[in-house]
Amino acid sequence: MKKHILFFAAVILFVSSSFAQNNNYETTMAKNLELMRSGKTAEELQQAANGFERIATAEQKEWLPLYYATLTYINISAKEKDESKKDQYLDKGQEHLNKALKLVPKESELHVLQGYVHLARINVSPIARGMKYSGMATKAFEKAKTLNPENPRVYFMLANTKYNTPKMFGGGPEAAKPYLDQAKEKFDVFKPASAIAPNWGKSQTEAMLANYN
């Protein structure tokens, strides 16, 4: 009997501590997400990125910390003015993204993010890089679409790519509209897999759609 009880206790101890650990993962992630969302300056965003990096090193099997680290570096890059530094931040983001892609190569969200990194590269030198990177981005979004046609961010990002492409190359607001409509449709039924799973783009889609009226 005593043996049983000890075993039972051990199980409880194990379960509850791993629960605590797991709980800790989600709460720390949530805390960092809050930091990322509220971050206004590059410094604040760097703190969020650092947080995600810490979680990523501790949780080698999770792709979400890497995902958000990349996303945060894209945002830092957008705030940076120096062209070469913009690229350095994106390089750092790409590094994390590559690790995430090794963990879950078929995750649609990661391919959306890959396309996003490519689009961000264009801002460094639109005339010189536009053609190359918008092609690469579109490819990544198409890949994300094949992996999960229900991912609303695929359509949101495709809409963005179209929107920012000059009219003479087949882009512009009119060309982006069908993608925005599709994005809206998908966002309306989209349920994130967890509280910390990717769940952005809906409000931006609605804001862009509002401009058409």
């Binding site: 039972f8 090193t57 030198s125 492409t165 087949g170």
Partner: protein, 723 residues
């Protein structure tokens, strides 16, 4: 039993409390760089835990952890090497950790050698011009060499159209595509008709124009190397057609996952144009050319790339060329050119990169001058292999060998009945080079290299050391210096008569300052170049080997200035180049040391580009000025004693971007010498004086006062360009 279950319950309730009640320890410290400056925003954390923080504006940090005992604290920050430290967290007192992070060597932020080199590319930070800049420079009419002519160090020589760099003749500049020599980079031409480059600027994603002091990887160029890097895999399948005032062209690119194949064909004929626009030349047959190319790209692996390019072009022209004697020569040219360039590169291991390639060029010119027939065939094969190795983090090695085989043959016939005289040579040039780039820090780099060559034709070897240094003075500015020895075989026209000559030689000394900040670039460069062993000959006896020697010499010195500003004017972009040149030489048939006929003391180029988004139109203007060039007036004492008038040119271009039925289309218009300035390149004198004892002259100028060009370029295949 009851007792036990109670204790279990108590235990069960306590577990979360135990977790929560763990004692927190404080860890404080500071992150500095090796210079003692704070590193802001560094990530500091206990390894394999969530515990950590970011360093503040003074580099300091404080965070708490529940971990105890021996732990590893790590600090990392963008641009620095990460660092780890072991600490022991004991129950008493707080732990203090201090980091001194070393700057990471990074190609993006590290100093680059800029002495002598102008880079144009699409990716790199040090880029001063992009490939598009080259294509859209007014006055250049999408000719690479025309655009490079607006950079400091290059000299406007209107009747040649070639690159003359820093007091060097055009043969002293060599063009390399993906590291391999292009023996004839210009279209064939006849005297006084400017040549154009053979290759479209759109073929290349990177261009480095080196006006001196370049790497030991390149040889056989006394003055300058133009390094062209071809595009990688094209983005997508597409078809293009072009309709121009001087011809038509078509291209198709097919793209597969790892492979692409592109075909181009073009035909040009100046006949309709010269019929419409008044010419200074009496054309008998306006220039006509047809050509095509095949371009293959194949990604052999994640890191490997195979590139193959082949092109063929045939061109013809005929004119009646006036002579100062008042007569006219019937001149005709027929050229056929085949060129092929195949390269392969791959990473062998993480630290070893292999570049290999082979190129072949066959060029045949048939020239008729009245009764005389001159046929020239030039065949060159070059094979090259280069290895790059990262020996240590800051030390890069590059070494390789190349083999160049050349067969040159010329047949000369005084008239159809005369016996043909053949002059020819075969050359086997072997070269090997090694070079090391040593980054002493992110701010200081030294490059030392040496190149050794052996010519089987001359039966002579040469060893050329090259040395460059660059030091970053602050975030935006840097100083570079370069020194180097450069050797080149005498030109084919001399080697075909006498193969016992020796290498011509030049020594370069260059000091450069460059500042790049906020889309503005300033460059200043001073140089001194010493020439030795230039080829000389006796013009009275040009067919006798003994009249040739390497007794020529010369020097060139000057200042090159460059300023580019892409910031001050919204949608506007301009650059200004100025070169001051002092040069003299005694070469070829010069009776004494003199300023060569191609050299002007002052060269100025002002290039402006303006994009008007509402009109989807880019306007471009280029103003060029060159002070008068020397020419020899036999009616006066001395040699090259006279000066032509100053050269002025204002050229404009307009590109209108639109789409025709959803296909991206560019309408392009350009005009040179808009103001109609009288451009004089020199004078040609009669060989004998008239009865009054004077040599009569005629002016050498451009083929027409202005050149107007219109073209429509349509791309099918829905290209997407992100703005």
């Amino acid at each position: 039993m009851k007792k036990i279950s109670t204790s279990i319950t108590i235990f069960f309730c306590l577990v979360p409390l135990l977790v929560l009640a763990q004692k927190q320890y404080t860890i404080t410290g500071q992150v500095l760089d090796t210079k003692g400056q704070p590193v802001i925003g560094a990530n500091v954390f206990i390894k394999d835990s969530y515990d950590g923080t970011s360093s503040g504006t003074d580099g300091s940090f404080t965070f708490t952890t529940a971990a105890t005992g021996a732990q590893t604290v790590a600090a990392s920050s963008l641009g620095y090497e990460s660092q780890e430290q072991s600490i022991n967290i004991s129950a008493t007192g707080e732990a203090k950790v201090y980091f001194k992070l070393k700057e990471k060597l990074s190609q993006l932020t590290a100093v680059t050698i800029t002495a002598g080199a102008f880079e144009a590319g699409d990716e790199k930070r040090s880029t001063i011009l992009s490939s598009l800049d080259i294509a859209t420079t007014a006055g250049a009419t999408a000719d690479i060499y025309g655009a490079i002519n607006t950079l400091p160090g290059a000299q406007r020589v209107g009747e040649e159209g070639k690159l003359f760099v820093r007091g060097g003749d055009s043969y002293e500049t060599k063009t390399f595509i993906d590291g391999l020599l292009v023996q004839k980079p210009y279209n064939s031409s006849v005297p006084d008709l400017p040549a154009r480059g053979r290759f479209s600027p759109f073929m290349f994603s990177g261009t480095t124009f080196s006006s001196g002091g370049y790497s030991a990887e390149y040889g056989q160029a006394l003055s300058s190397a133009l390094l062209l890097k071809t595009n990688g895999l094209p983005e997508k399948t597409e078809t293009g057609i072009s309709i121009m005032s001087v011809g038509v062209g078509a291209s198709h690119t097919q793209r597969w996952e790892n492979t692409s194949l592109a075909l181009t064909a073009d035909y040009s004929n100046m006949a309709p144009y010269v019929g419409l626009v008044k010419q200074n030349i009496d054309w008998k047959r306006a220039p006509e050319s047809k050509g095509g190319s095949i371009v293959l790209r194949h990604k052999t692996s994640e890191t490997g790339m195979l590139k193959a390019y082949s092109s063929y072009a045939g061109s013809r022209l005929a004119l009646s060329q006036a002579t100062p004697e008042g007569t006219a020569n019937a001149v005709a040219l027929d050229n056929r050119n085949f060129f092929s360039n195949i390269t392969y590169q791959d990473l062998l291991t993480e630290k070893w990169t292999l570049h290999t390639g082979i190129s072949y060029m066959h060029n045949a010119d048939d020239i008729k001058v009245d009764e005389q027939n001159i046929a020239e065939q030039d065949n060159t094969v070059q094979a090259k292999a280069t290895l790059e190795h990262q020996l240590a983090d800051p030390l890069w090695l590059k070494f390789g060998s190349e083999l160049t085989l050349r067969r040159y043959e010329q047949q000369y016939q005084q008239n159809a009945n005369a016996q043909s005289i053949t002059s020819d040579f075969d050359e086997t040039l072997t070269a090997t080079f090694a070079e090391a780039d040593w980054y002493l820090s992110n701010n200081l780099v030294a490059r030392a290299g040496v190149r050794a060559e052996y010519s089987a034709l001359l039966e002579k070897a040469n060893i050329a050391p090259r040395l460059s240094l660059a030091y970053k003075t602050d975030e935006h500015g840097q100083i570079s210096a370069a020194f180097g020895q450069f050797y080149q075989l005498p030109e084919a026209q001399f080697l075909k008569i006498n193969d016992e000559l020796t290498y011509e030689n030049a020594t370069h000394y260059i000091l450069n300052y460059q500042r790049q900040q906020d889309k503005r670039t300033f460059r200043a460069e001073v140089y001194y170049k010493k020439y030795n062993h230039l080829t000389k000959y006796n013009p009275e006896l040009p067919r006798l080997p003994v009249s040739y020697s390497n007794s020529g010499s010369g020097y060139a010195q000057g200042i090159d200035l460059f300023w580019r500003d892409r910031k001050s004017i919204k949608n506007g972009d301009y650059w200004i180049s100025y070169s001051l040149l002092d040069t003299r030489r005694n070469y070829r048939d010069y009776p004494q040391q003199a300023i060569p006929a191609f050299a002007s003391k002052h060269n100025l180029a002002l290039v402006y580009k303006h994009f008007v988004p509402d009109m989807k139109t880019q306007f471009g203007a280029t103003y060029s000025f060159a002070s008068g060039r020397p020419y020899n007036d036999p009616n006066q004492d001395g040699f090259n004693q006279s000066r032509t008038p100053n050269y002025n040119d204002l050229s404009l271009n307009v590109s209108y971007l639109t789409n025709i039925r959803g296909n991206f289309t560019v309408l392009y218009l350009s005009a040179t010498n808009l103001l109609g300035s009288n451009q004089v390149f020199g004078y040609r004198y009669t060989s004998n004086p008239d009865e009054t004892g004077t040599y009569n002259s005629m002016q050498v100028g451009p083929p027409a006062k202005r050149f107007l060009f219109a073209g429509l370029f349509i791309n099918f295949g829905g290209q997407s360009i992100h703005h």
